[in-house]
Symmetry: C2
Subunit: 198 residues, 2 copies
């Protein structure tokens, strides 16, 4: 015997979610079985709502209910500065920090040749288009400082070299709250190279 | 800015699942956003299917599409022996082991006074009823060997002492594949106390 058929089916569906193994999926399915109908209704409705009402903003490629999104249609934001991020969550993190008042471009991925992800698999051409259309004075590369993020930043920098646009990279260095003692040598090297007048 | 409203709503729904924090819920929501419509349709349908078509078997209290469940209506299984488990998953685990051919009783919880879970919060009265109705010769207590499982086993043993029924507890000892060296003292004590002729 295994679980009753509808339970097995739900476990299978849950276990396709990232980071959810079969054991965890089983725990989630059991939770759903015991949960109030209201909760399951809410979960189902929010799943459908997200799939039906969230699309990509044709400007910045971020997820949004409206097209253009709220940020792209906000006249108080500087349309000449584009901050390029790999994922929507990175954009949300930068917005939460609150210091950037320009627009975004979400690539929905980073270039990773070993995983078969090239520029065509991400929203790279859309970025080039925005720059080509004009009105952009600076592109800030805010991809992560891991191999894929660095590769992506380098690739975009090269691709935009023919345009009259300033391409910058956010700073790499010791994070706020970080102890020098525990930093890895590459971070310390970056921090040293990127030093500014105190 | 935070996430678009439908995304926040989905994150909130996901984060109510056990063991899913806000970060993980965010990751799951993003996965859903990027997932094929077919996948989301399957997840939604299986959630609804489970809530609509799975009920408690009125015999053993396990989750089942049919009532009585397949095990309770199987004439080849011994109706006189009831194996009591705390959760449905414990029943599935014992069934997977394949050595038990009687019936089950799922308590849907274990007695935990500190968490406010007493006999009334679990399917205890239903077990007493089954014993009272007769035809039961042995009740095997297969609750876990932690504080809650032991408390539950003890409570049931006492409660059934007035009935002409044998109440047994599954064996506690060194698990198969376990090294004596690494066993905790209580397990070794239990294993010693429960020794049988070799």
């Amino acid at each position: 015997m295994r679980y009753a058929e509808p339970i097995s089916r739900l476990i299978k569906a849950f276990s396709r979610l990232p980071g959810i193994g079969e054991k965890t999926a089983g725990r989630l399915a059991l939770y759903v079985l015991n949960a109030k109908k209201d909760y399951v209704k809410e979960l189902v409705e929010s799943l459908l709502d997200v799939k039906e009402n969230v699309r990509l903003c044709s400007g910045c490629m971020s997820f949004s209910e409206a097209d253009p999104c709220r940020l792209c249609s906000d006249p108080s934001r500087d349309a000449a500065t584009i901050c390029v991020v790999a994922d929507y969550k990175d954009m949300v993190a930068i917005e939460a920090a609150g210091s950037f008042r320009g627009r975004y471009h979400v690539l929905h991925g980073a270039i990773a040749p070993l995983k078969g992800v090239g520029p065509d698999e991400i929203k790279f051409e859309e970025l080039v288009s925005r720059v080509r259309d004009g009105g952009v004075s600076e592109v800030i590369l805010a991809t992560s400082f891991d191999a894929e993020g660095e590769t992506t930043a380098l690739y975009i920098k090269k691709a935009l070299s023919g345009f009259a646009v300033k391409v910058s990279r956010i700073a790499s260095g010791v994070p706020v709250g970080g102890s020098i003692e525990y930093m890895d040598p590459s971070t310390l090297g970056r921090a040293m190279d990127g030093r500014r007048e105190a």
